[in-house]
């Protein structure tokens, strides 16, 4: 499809093209239109999907669809209950939105690589990255919300004074000489959480996407030369294998991004 935009058909150009966002604005005030559009669309789909099940859920015999929604809910609820002991109504909502939304976004990786760009081109968009979780902005946004939830939970459990006290006295002790090392370590500890969360998901999805692109190059090479027609078979086999394996990564990364924030929030409420 790159040829449609008058770009030279080389493997490098193909990959670079596929890694470009459709963007507006300059400098920091650049907006990735594709990421925003896809994540909003998938948030709406996820919300309506869950809402359709929640609206029909009752104490009576559930339909298959409602059962499926209830299964997801019960799974998430069970995971939260294992980690957090207290009123978990809000945390279940956090975990459920993270889990379902991330699965929906990650699953975009399974769409044939060139299809979204082709559709976007019909609407005049030159670039279209379909995977919001392979955009660091997408994953770091969720991690920042989690960061605020962690801080909020800690303040709620210990009070503003207690939390501030913990910042300078834990983990080494209350000696004034140790205040600065304590504070420094707490900064690292707190920031490591959102950074590791967002980097893990971003890295996994970005690498997955990249591998799909490399596999797609096999097909491109096949199209370019007669002798390379076997490479097309290679693309089919490698693409299928990676897609099947990628289903596991999609679910696993969503699961990790659901459980770790709950663990962090539960830890934040514990007293040192």
């Amino acid at each position: 499809m790159a040829a449609e935009h008058g770009i030279e058909e080389t493997p490098t150009a193909y990959i670079v093209h596929h890694l470009k966002h459709l963007q507006v604005g300059e400098g920091f005030w650049t907006w990735h239109v594709d990421t925003l559009f896809m994540s909003t669309l998938l948030a709406i789909v996820t919300a309506l999907f869950l809402y359709a099940g929640a609206r029909k859920a009752s104490a009576g015999v559930p339909s298959r669809f409602v059962s499926f929604i209830e299964m997801i809910y019960e799974f998430v609820d069970g995971q939260v209950a294992d980690v957090y002991h207290g009123n978990r109504a809000f945390l279940v909502a956090v975990a459920l939105s993270l889990f379902t939304w991330i699965i929906a976004m990650n699953a975009m990786d399974l769409i044939p690589l060139d299809a979204p760009g082709y559709i976007a081109a019909l609407f005049g968009a030159e670039y279209w990255r379909v995977l919001p979780t392979a955009d660091l902005n997408g994953t770091i946004a969720m991690a920042i919300v989690i960061l605020f939830l962690i801080i909020g939970a800690a303040i709620r459990a210990k009070g503003l004074k207690g939390y501030a006290h913990e910042w300078i006295t834990a983990p080494f002790g209350g000696n004034p000489l140790l205040w600065i090392p304590n504070f420094a370590l707490n900064v690292v500890e707190l920031l490591a959480k959102p950074v590791s969360l967002s980097m893990r998901l971003f890295g996994n999805m970005y690498a997955g996407e990249l591998l799909f692109m490399l596999i797609a190059l096999l097909g491109m090479a096949a199209a370019l030369s007669l002798g390379g027609s076997l490479l097309f078979l290679g693309q089919l086999i490698a693409g299928a294998a990676w897609a099947i394996f990628h289903v596991l990564i999609i679910l696993l990364q969503a699961y990790i991004f659901m459980v770790l924030p709950i663990v962090y929030i539960a830890m934040a409420e514990e007293h040192h």
Binding site: W29, H32, A43, S58, A59, Y73, L136, G138
Partner: protein
């Protein structure tokens, strides 16, 4: 991998999604599941209670049947005894009556025989007296010879 204003938009999207799910999805699901759990627990308890009631009713019914059978047997026994008693009583009465009738008849017969004997004796006595007076050609003073006449009559009666 550049960080730019996109993440601000993504935070808004996530916050709205979170709000929606917290407001409209999880409470409904949680309530429905809790209600179903309660309903199932109630249903199981009711089933257990029903089973217990059934067993109780069965044992009670067995008791009632056993009691009725006992009572029926008792009534049959009583009836048999009563009928035997009635038959025995009737037999006794009949025997008595028969004996009484026989006794009465015997007494009557004896009385009749005595009366006949008396009449005969009297007639024989008067016949003897008449015969004797005719033989002696004179009248026998009945009062004087009453003693003699009676003896004679007794002798005749015995013979």
């Amino acid at each position: 991998m550049t960080i730019n204003a996109t993440f601000i938009g993504q935070i808004l999207v996530f916050a709205i999604l979170l709000w929606f799910i917290y407001k409209f999805v999880t409470p409904a699901l949680s309530q429905a599941l809790n209600e179903r759990q309660k309903k199932i627990a109630d249903g199981l308890a009711a089933a257990e209670k029903g089973q217990k009631d059934l067993a109780e009713a069965q044992s009670r019914a067995e008791g009632v049947i056993k009691e009725a059978r006992d009572r029926a047997n008792q009534i049959i026994d009583q009836a048999n005894r009563r009928s035997n008693e009635i038959v025995d009583a009737a037999k006794g009465t009949a025997q008595h009556e028969g004996e009484r009738i026989v006794t009465t008849a015997r007494t009557e017969a004896a009385t009749e025989a005595n009366r006949a004997r008396d009449t005969l004796r009297r007639e024989v006595g008067s016949l003897v007296a008449a015969g004797t007076s005719r033989l002696l050609e004179r009248e026998v003073d009945a009062k004087t010879h009453a003693d003699l006449l009676d003896k004679l009559a007794a002798e005749i009666g015995r013979g």
